[in-house]
Amino acid sequence: MQKEYTITVYTEDRIGITNRITIIFTRRRINITSLTTSETEIPGVYKFVITVLATRELLDKVVLQIERLIEIHRAFVHEEDEVVYQELALYKVSTKALSNGNIERLIRDNHARILTIAEDYFVIEKTGHQQELLDMLKKLEPYGLIEYTKSGRVAIVKWSRRFHEHLKNLGEKQMDNLPPGVTHPEANRSGISL
């Protein structure tokens, strides 16, 4: 059954890596609904958080095809309850709305905040799950919403500690290259415990 999944991909820092990853989804005709990327706590290692609508069976194959790319450390599919995630939205609203006392209450009640106020507009920031951000959008519309923008998903995987330790070790040991015949203690993919 199709549902929304979060995929995390750990990559080396390389030009074109986004392209390489997205091509694999494209070939399988899977639509990426959001994609965020940022450097991890390990220098040179990047993390992609991708959300898609697809089946688990298909995605299990897709992540292996992603892992086959040379500059990919690992790729994982996560169920909804395996990740803690947030998205961030910015709402630009006409300053006139501020004269209406209700909007400040609306902002407070929805755990949003005002980022900046200019002469003719002000900007509200809110983090949350997509539905909460959309709900906020609806509530703000009557106040003269000028513009709305939203980030992709940012996610932390609940069980990822040991995998991050593995990545950290890679960084610390600078194990880019080994003399011939020496096996990297973590060279065995199945040997990485999670």
Partner: protein
């Protein structure tokens, strides 16, 4: 993200590779390319020069004159890629290709995709416009990195001279290790002109890349348990067996437990056709008994193969009764098409060695006999009349039989794509490994002539015979020029039925004989060969064919033999596309 082209290499040099000549002065990036290739042990490059790769060709000149490296000037860049594939498959080395930017680079696309599908190691080096012009639609600028991303195992653009040795070292390591594949290195003109202090260190490790998984003994145990519990075990031998050089291990494994071995198209030649456990080849036009018995075995042991749809037919009816053991180095292939009950994610050689120690001897006589009985049906209905016709026009199969007999099954057979490919694969008696070179995954028409040329360069001492259809030949026939100029002694057999035979067969069987655009009015092939100073002969009569093949094999150097064969001959057995393999038709 940061722009960083190449990670610095910090490897200790492998003693397997020849030491590069020491260079004390800074050299150009172009010279660094050639020195890096020599350090990788490259002897032959297939290529075509042009504006953006001229500095590299200029640097090549001195090394060619001093005999350190050989360059073969092809007539089209696609020819270079197929030649490099043929070279890699016959010699076991990585094929190397040079092309210029823009059209030169885009002409590589078919060959790169073909090599990617068939896991052939290749390093393509393309020239690119100067870094300052990138992205400006400069003359002959094409985004070759973008274009080749989905069809290469890895590619990289180098814009600084100092990054060249590292990129090439990485390219060779990636192309050859694990599941091999093509790699492309695009080098801007300024990087070729710029100078660097040259030092070459072979690449042996990339931290995010694990080419060879460590053998997991639990997986081996699980596979052995399934095999030991089976009564009708069955091996499918794929290209991975040849890539891993695991032919001996496969036979030792099969012999220990009396397991019949069938081959995929690209697995052909891994096992000699004379071996008592060898039962033929599977797939759309494969043999009857191995296809039928795929749906009769109780354990299917797939080694280094990927369950291509030409092998499985309808996956929903494929080997449903069998437990599947899948030995495969590429984890993404496991469970991709057929769910494996006992996957062994490993190099075929290591996995087979370990498995042989864990399996028991067993009596499989009755099971093997069942192949023989089915085989008899194929013999009666198809094989005998194909191989030994006494009247009518010449048949492709009898030509292949004669070539097989006269070369003792020891020639390297390079086939193009279509009916002749299937007939050659069915009837050539392969005796030794790596003697079957064909375009399996992509099915690229025009493959054989340049690939045969490369195969001959890679293994000069072997007889190389290209079997080519009249349609295929006309896709890359300009490489006759390369064959003449570089004196490559390849034997070319055109099986001419004046049709795009395989398409015509499908039109006959599935499109009510509506032969839409498949009939060919062909030129005089022997005259064309003559134009390239290659001797040849045309044969139309059964009485002449044996002598003509003798003449071809006895003529030193290249030779072209055109054989006019039955116009509307069909290849049977056949599994219609997408049908269950058990529905294989004998006529």
């Amino acid at each position: 993200m940061q722009q960083k082209d190449v990670l610095p290499m910090k490897t200790e040099k492998s003693d397997k590779r020849p030491a590069p000549a020491p260079v004390s002065e800074p050299i150009t990036g172009a010279e660094a390319v050639i020195r890096s290739l020599i350090a990788e042990g490259v002897e032959t490059i297939f290529g075509y020069p042009g504006g953006a790769i001229m500095p590299i060709y200029d640097a090549l000149y001195d090394f060619q004159v001093s005999g350190q490296v050989n360059h073969i000037l092809v007539r089209h860049e696609q020819g270079a890629t197929h030649a490099a594939q043929g070279y890699a498959r016959s010699s076991g080395k990585t094929g190397v290709v040079f092309a210029t930017s823009g059209p030169g680079a885009t002409n590589l696309v078919t060959g790169l995709a073909d090599a990617y599908m068939d896991s052939t190691p290749m390093v393509a080096i393309t020239g690119q416009v100067a870094a300052a012009l990138l992205g400006t639609d400069a003359f002959q600028e094409t985004d070759v990195i973008g274009i080749t991303m989905p069809i290469t195992k890895w590619n990289i653009q180098v814009t600084r001279p100092e990054d060249i040795p590292g990129a090439i070292a990485k390219a060779f390591y990636i192309a050859k290790s694990g599941r091999p594949g093509p790699v492309l290195v695009d080098i801007t003109k300024n990087a070729q002109f710029g100078k660097l202090d040259f030092q070459y260190e072979a690449c042996e490790y990339i931290r995010s890349y694990r080419p060879k998984p460590v053998l997991n003994m639990e997986q081996v145990e699980a596979a052995a348990a399934l095999i030991n519990a089976s009564k009708r075990p069955y091996i499918l031998c794929g290209h991975g067996v040849l890539i891993a050089d695991a032919q001996k291990e496969l036979i030792a494994f099969a012999e220990k437990a009396g397991i019949p071995i069938a081959s995929t198209l690209l697995g052909l030649s891994a096992v000699s056709v004379d071996h008592p456990l060898y039962v033929g080849y599977v797939g759309m036009h494969g043999n009857y008994s191995p296809n039928i018995n795929t749906n009769e075995c109780d354990v299917l042991i797939a080694v280094g193969m990927r369950f291509d749809d030409r092998i499985t037919g309808d996956v929903n009816t494929y080997a449903r009764q069998a437990k599947v053991v899948h030995i495969e180095i590429d984890e993404a292939e496991i469970h991709k098409i057929i769910k494996a009950d006992a996957p062994v994610h490993a190099d075929a050689k290591e996995a087979l060695q370990a498995l042989t120690g864990k399996i028991d001897a067993k009596d499989t006589k009755a099971w093997i006999q069942s192949f023989k009985e089915l085989d008899k049906q194929e013999d009666e209905k198809v094989r005998h009349k194909e191989l030994y016709p006494t009247e009518g026009e010449l048949k492709m199969a009898e030509v292949i039989r004669l070539i097989s007999e006269k070369t003792g099954g020891e020639a390297i057979l390079v086939t193009d794509v279509g009916q002749h490919q299937m007939i050659a694969s069915r009837y050539y008696g392969f005796k030794s490994p790596n003697t079957n070179i064909t375009s399996g995954g992509m099915g690229t028409m025009g493959f054989a002539l340049p690939a045969a040329m490369g195969a001959k360069v890679g293994k000069e001492e072997r007889e190389v015979v290209a079997i080519i259809g009249d349609g295929c030949f006309q896709m890359t026939l300009q490489e006759l020029g390369t064959i003449y100029q570089s004196k490559i002694g390849v034997k070319i057999v055109i099986l001419n039925n004046n049709f795009l035979g395989m398409v015509r067969q499908w039109q006959q069987l599935f499109f009510d004989r509506r032969y839409s655009s498949t009939e060919m009015t062909n030129p005089d092939f022997v005259q064309i060969a003559k134009g390239f100073f290659i001797p040849g002969k045309k044969v139309t009569d059964r009485s002449e064919i044996s002598d003509a093949i003798d003449e071809m094999l006895n003529t030193p150097g290249a030779y072209l033999l055109e054989v006019v064969v039955e116009k509307e001959d069909n290849v049977f057995p056949m599994v219609p596309a997408g049908a269950p393999i058990a529905s294989i038709r004998l006529d």
